[in-house]
Symmetry: C2
Subunit: 286 residues, 2 copies
Amino acid sequence: MFYLIGLGLGDASDITVKGLEVVRRAKRVYLEAYTSILTVGKEALESFYGREVILADRDMVEQSSDDLMADAEENDVAFLVVGDPLGATTHTDLILRAVEKGLEYCVIHNASIMNAIGCCGLQLYNYGETISIVFWEKDWKPESFYDKILVNRERGMHTLCLLDIKMKEQTIENLMKGRPIYEPPRFLSASQACQQLLDIVNRRDDDKKTHSDLTPTTVCVAVARVGASDQKIAVATLEEMCTVDMGNPLHSLVIPGHMHPLEVQMLKLFAVSDHVRNILEATEER
Amino acid sequence: MFYLIGLGLGDASDITVKGLEVVRRAKRVYLEAYTSILTVGKEALESFYGREVILADRDMVEQSSDDLMADAEENDVAFLVVGDPLGATTHTDLILRAVEKGLEYCVIHNASIMNAIGCCGLQLYNYGETISIVFWEKDWKPESFYDKILVNRERGMHTLCLLDIKMKEQTIENLMKGRPIYEPPRFLSASQACQQLLDIVNRRDDDKKTHSDLTPTTVCVAVARVGASDQKIAVATLEEMCTVDMGNPLHSLVIPGHMHPLEVQMLKLFAVSDHVRNILEATEER
């Protein structure tokens, strides 16, 4: 059996009991190491599981699935994914390849940021489309994610913004020379993401602004290391959030739409300033 | 410490290791028993945890939170919720009450249908607003959920439809006479939900139909008992789904929007007929 097992979001003990049983008895255990990270590394997982774990990078998963799934007809092979196993397209593709090989598969679900974002107090069923905010480069500053936020806000919906992760990147020079030298991983922080949003807000013509447009005083929610013991949630205006230090990765951001009084009350628990607390209180009175 | 602990979706072993540790050491453990159910009951949980679990119904949670949280300053009290603890508004409210009492709280996340629906192969970030389909009554047949599906489809987004649960309902007669007699729980099935959708499709004026409207041949996805060993996924046309038996609760439904070829391939794995398989293949060629 080929198992796809979610690790949840915090540390090693966020795996489910069902998942841990499979990990302990499986012949081989792979850890997907390119779409997300836990707050602990491979070594912590190995010591918690009491067994060896094989790191699987993108090349291995996308190009060597024969090796990955070898002898999974007779043996259990486990493929560990941070969060829920079916958050990213690559993993659906693994299922299709397993089925093509005639293998049985089983998914063991877990929390992912898509539902654990409930921790900030904004209700899950009030979210619209989830978006990704990418690292801006010198000559590439896409704004399409901003327009999706507006579409959600137009309908009163909150927007979960997943923030860019760059793992195993190569410089153009190393890529062209075929040198397998990789840059250190980079994680877009909530404050950087807010700075990019604020740049868009400032760049767009004031005349064209609609009621769903962001402003420097729009309330934002940043979360960091959700599920870990040092989880952090901060509520600030867009402008304030540009200077809030959320600490180590991973970060995510939420741009609220219309808020229910209970949602406003929850956000107030995490307000970083009187300024944003006053804005939230004014919302409650409307 | 007041702990809100997600149980995930399948059976007793879907709790996380972190959650189980708290359950085993807590002074009291409550099981929220009115917004969702696992495929196993309280007794199975008690035997898995090796301890007593107290059932908490809506009255108890909404009206007796003082008892619920009594002595949680000095002791650990655990409140178990099927899925993720923050899927429903009631639980956010519990957090606010805990904070008001000056208690510390901790959320231990787990899978919920909001992310485990990834099991059908439609990508989570392609979903729009989640909707609820309620039981139609003789004189009450709301259609607002249908319009929300259309708004999502207009933008190419999939729609997760949560299906109604009626726990501890009273007949009008028993309610008026103040008799604490409750009807057996009812769970809206995927086929019933599809029948209601089909009724709306048939009732609406053909002239007014837009490209995002459903038709009897619209592809639908039904899931049942996600995460359990007898999980079932079925892909059928809306008309076909009205007669598909998904077995025991809980069921959910997805109405796809625009599909990526990889998503179509996944859905084909669960096709119940050549008819719907042909429709999916025609989608692939477009």
